[in-house]
């Protein structure tokens, strides 16, 4: 059952081939057995899941249930789940049980999906390897001495290991796409403002966006249709009709103009990855798409701009964690300043502290113009590059990551080495565009991903292209060894 896609599960549930309770129990058993090997799931909500599954079965029996009714999923532990511990991968929230649901969680609940638990992640979504979690690293199911990518490493590994057919995740600089690529699965970060950020613990408010991870574009389309909604509680959420993403999957890609940025194929790109990506592009060309070389000249500014803007916003977003209203509090604070400085020094891990300090620096008096001001201007330039490109092409494609999954600790000493992992994904967040990754090959027995970048609110087309690609290739069907037992 765990090898069925969500689309197949939906059909199976509706035609009574199996019940949601059976399905849920099956995945709960798999998590119990296999998760210790990956550490992808940090909270399992078995009782609630079985209750929800039973309720879903009743709804299915009554007929007319929504598509995802009875389908088990996992939520990245960044989404507030009412009554269930939501840690954001941090000691700071190790004891935090929210009294409210994130809108994303609420949407799935309305649809009757079954929540199996919460997945591991880089602390406060800051990281590209899931090595910064308070709950320990996540192992990549393809190669357990390697990272799964981050920050949504738990969700990616869980889906790859078939611990759940789909999972929610978030992407601020590549945190859906990069782990999707490194774990050989499909993930999409929608246009900024497509999915509500209410109840999604904030890292960098103008960059964060929630999206689904699953084993195919078809499955992602089902999940995204549920996740996307207009939410009045989020001022940055755009009021725009949510299309039925599944209905346009089968459009032809004939005549599709694919932009291939030359800056995404420069030095630093693993040759094996490049080969796999170019093969994928050729595959689409064979289907009738047209490859057009484009230039995104300000690409080189992406990583520097991001590492000013994201930490700056984060430094303010994380100020609320002060030991006063909720979360971790240091023992016996001797005065107010001690309460703050020790709670935050003990509650936050090293990477989080580093980013807060960087953010504080970039915003401080005397540095604002040179750093924050400049970065916001660079952001404008980067967006202009994309706007110009989309006048000539329909979608943009290239590698998701510079190389396949790397070994734990290999980027340890130099934070910048880790930051460069996001070199191809970051620009899309800065521009607010939608981005996606689909598996397109193996290098050194590890998966690599093809990135698809679309124009604003063009998720339907991206999912369509990805689906067409997946109809003629089998990378997305491959499973890591040892996962089937």
């Amino acid at each position: 059952m765990h090898n069925l896609t969500i689309a197949e599960l939906v059909r199976g549930l509706k035609s009574n081939q199996f019940s949601s309770v059976e399905l849920t129990q099956h995945f709960l058993d798999r998590i119990a057995k296999l998760n210790p090997g990956f550490n992808a799931v940090i909270t399992v909500t078995a009782d609630q899941a079985l209750k929800a599954a039973a309720a879903a079965d009743e709804r299915l029996a009554a007929g007319n249930a929504p598509d995802l009714c009875g389908v088990p999923i996992l939520h990245k532990d960044i989404f507030c789940t009412k009554g269930v511990r939501t840690s954001c991968g941090s000691k700071m929230l190790d004891n935090f049980v929210p009294p409210y649901n994130a809108t994303v969680v609420e949407n799935f609940e309305q649809a009757g999906a079954v929540v199996l638990g919460k997945t591991n992640m880089d602390e406060f979504a800051m990281g590209s390897s899931n090595e910064t979690s308070f709950y320990g690293s996540v192992q990549n199911p393809w190669s357990t001495d390697c990272v799964p990518g981050g920050s949504s490493g738990g969700s990616a590994a869980a889906v790859a290991a078939r611990l759940a057919p789909g999972a929610t995740a978030t992407d601020t600089g590549g945190s859906i796409r990069q782990p999707a690529a490194l774990c050989g699965i499909t993930g999409i970060k929608p246009t900024y403002g497509r999915v509500s950020r209410w109840g999604m613990i904030a890292f960098a408010s103008s960059l964060d966006q929630a999206g689904p991870m699953a084993r195919s574009a078809e499955d992602c389309a089902l999940l995204l249709s549920c996740m996307a909604s207009f939410d009045e509680k989020d001022s940055t959420c755009i009021d725009r009709e949510v299309p039925d993403y599944s209905s346009s999957l089968n459009n032809s890609v004939k005549g599709l103009k694919i932009g291939v940025p030359k800056e995404y194929f420069s030095e630093g790109l693993n040759p094996g990855t490049e080969k796999a990506v170019r093969t994928a592009l050729a595959e689409l060309e064979a289907q009738g798409a047209e490859l057009i070389e484009i230039s995104l000249p300000n690409s080189g500014l992406s990583v520097p701009a991001y590492y000013v803007i994201a930490p700056a916003e984060a430094s303010a977003n994380l100020s609320r964690f002060d030991g006063v209203k909720y979360g971790y509090r240091c023992e016996d604070p001797k005065d107010l300043q001690d309460l703050y400085t020790r709670t935050r020094a003990e509650g936050f891990g090293e990477e989080v502290q580093r980013r807060i300090l960087i953010g504080t620096y970039c915003l401080s008096a005397g540095y604002y113009d040179a750093y924050y001001g400049k970065a916001q201007q660079a952001r404008q330039l980067i967006q202009q590059d994309f706007t110009a490109a989309f006048e000539k092409v329909d979608v943009i494609m290239g590698p998701t990551c510079p190389s396949p999954a790397f070994k734990f600790g290999s980027k340890g000493d130099d934070p910048v080495a880790m930051y460069l992992e996001d070199i191809y994904t970051i620009a899309t967040n800065l521009a607010g565009l939608p981005g996606m990754s689909v598996p397109c090959g193996m290098v050194d027995d590890k998966p690599v991903g093809l990135q698809i970048i679309g124009n604003y609110f063009d998720e339907a087309r991206m999912l369509n292209v990805a689906h067409q690609y997946q109809q003629v290739t089998g990378w997305h069907d491959q499973a890591p060894e040892g996962v089937d037992s």
Binding site: P98, W198, I201, A202, S315, S319, D322, S364, Y368, Y372
Partner: protein, 485 residues
């Protein structure tokens, strides 16, 4: 050495909206701690702000009332600092693009001369919560109540155009009058609805350069503001004359103990690291909205004062006293309407009522004698049902809660006797019972007879328990006595 003073004010005005600026929690005064602090106000993880339309409209109305430029596109910024009553660790405020720009406020000095105080700008921001240093909790800690957190404020910043405490108070009172008149603030100083920060500096008379200024924060009474300014001016002058220099610092003034002190000034000035708030989008106010608000703007104090002179025939002085305070003018007008006598209404409102309210430190909005009730009382004086003297007694009765003027007149049998038949009888009886006085009167010289009338009046008033209509009695007495001559 002669000195001149330069004063600027920053005034925080709580807007009288029903809900907070960024959440739908109530702003009603006096609730139990933290019962009006929702998840957004508590800065719980994943919560987001949505802007209150009424707060925007109230801010624009203020701008219109002072003839200011309206910021048709304004933006919010984050002001970052740590304090327990600031749950997010930043205050959402406006800096670069405030909603109201330059404007003017005219003040009138005691000598009748006028002066314009320029407004630099007014911006929207959220209020912080409250720290309680003692209460129903253990020793050695402070208790934080976040009910007030998120209440909408406009901060009004003046240019340093005031030259002495009198002008500063006049300005403060004028602002109070304006904001209460247009209905954007309830003006309850004791509840913290308006708070003043005073920037004071001195310089040798005739010089142009500004001296170093100090800021005395959080004054919430005109009296305390006056005291604080006078004290600070004296302190600065003494300091400089003794060879010292004024240090730029923040100060507090305790109106109860009359002590002013510096606020932990040894610490480095806070670097607030302002940056645009990514959770809130640009605030647009259309020309249509501005015109509609302008059309519906309630009467401004200057216009009202002029109208009082014209409509009610009040003197300039009376019109100024009654017209400047929104609550008092509303009271006066209702009293006038009910009683039909503006002059009496003015006298009673400014006289008897104001004195008693002042004595017992009650605001006119909480007056135990309502405008309707006072109007009812005045109507009975105007129609001669009771004498002026009786009226005071009735007033006290209404204050004590005995009911309306009519209720009390009825209950205590205070109705002035004006029935000529009854009075005739009364006078006749008194004359008959006082033959000696009558004889004395007849035998007195004509020129000296007037003086003797008082004696008869006294007896008649005594006999009628003070309820005889004196004017009528006079007439009847004169007639009867002349018949006896």
């Amino acid at each position: 050495m002669s000195w001149e003073t330069v004063i600027g004010l920053e005034v925080h005005v709580q807007l009288a909206t029903k809900t907070k600026i960024f959440s739908g929690a109530s702003t009603a005064f006096g609730a139990e701690p933290n019962t009006q602090a929702c998840a957004i106000d508590l800065a719980m993880p994943g919560t987001l702000p949505v802007l209150n339309k009424q707060a925007v409209h109230y801010a624009v109305m203020f701008g219109l009332a002072i003839d200011a430029e309206i910021g048709k596109e304004s933006a919010f910024e984050r002001k970052n600092y740590f304090y327990p009553d600031l749950p997010k660790g930043y205050q959402t405020t406006q800096l670069e693009k405030p909603i109201v720009g330059r404007g003017n406020v005219e003040i009138e000095r005691a000598d009748g001369s006028k002066k314009i105080v320029r407004i630099h700008h007014a911006h929207l921001e959220e209020d912080a919560g409250k720290s309680l240093h003692e209460g129903n909790f253990r020793h050695g800690v402070s208790g934080i109540d976040l009910n007030r957190a998120g209440t909408p404020l406009i901060e009004i910043v003046s240019e340093p155009d005031m030259s002495n405490a009198e002008e500063a108070i006049a300005f403060a009172k004028k602002l109070h009058s304006i904001v209460t008149s247009i209905g954007i603030c309830d003006g309850e100083m004791s509840q913290g609805s308006m708070r003043f920060d005073v920037n004071v500096s001195v310089r040798p008379t005739g010089t142009k350069e500004l001296g170093t200024r100090t800021e005395t924060k959080n004054l919430n009474s005109f009296k305390f503001m006056e005291e604080a300014i006078s004290k600070e001016v004296e302190r600065q002058i003494d300091l400089i004359e003794d060879g010292g220099t004024v240090v730029q610092e923040t100060r507090l003034y305790n109106g109860d103990t009359k002590v002013a002190r510096s606020m932990r000034s040894k610490e480095e000035a806070n670097d607030y690291r302002y940056f645009p708030c990514p959770d809130l989008l640009p605030v647009i106010v259309t020309d249509e909205t501005i015109e509609e608000l302008r059309r519906n703007l309630p009467e401004l104090p200057d216009a009202r004062q002029a109208r009082f002179v014209e409509q009610y025939g009040l003197s300039d002085y009376d019109a100024a006293v009654l017209g400047s305070d929104a609550a008092m003018s509303a009271y006066f007008e209702t009293t006038t309407e009910k009683s039909g006598n503006a002059k009496l209404a003015a006298n009673w409102t400014m006289g008897e009522l104001a004195a008693r309210l002042n004595n017992e430190a009650i605001s006119i909005t909480n007056s135990p004698v309502s405008a309707e009730q006072l109007g009812g009382l005045i109507a009975r004086v105007a129609d001669n049902s009771i004498s002026g003297k009786m009226a005071k007694e009735v007033f006290d009765g209404i204050w004590a809660g005995e009911g309306s003027a009519d209720d009390i007149i009825e209950a205590r049998g205070l109705k002035q006797v004006s029935d000529s038949g009854a009075l005739e009888q009364m006078v006749a009886e008194v004359l008959a019972a006082n033959q000696a006085m009558v004889d004395d009167y007849i035998n007195t010289d004509e020129a000296k007879r007037k003086k003797k009338l008082g004696g008869f009046m006294g007896q008649i008033m005594k006999a009628s328990k003070g309820q005889a209509n004196p004017q009528q009695v006079n007439q009847i007495l004169a007639k009867k006595l002349s018949e006896l001559l």
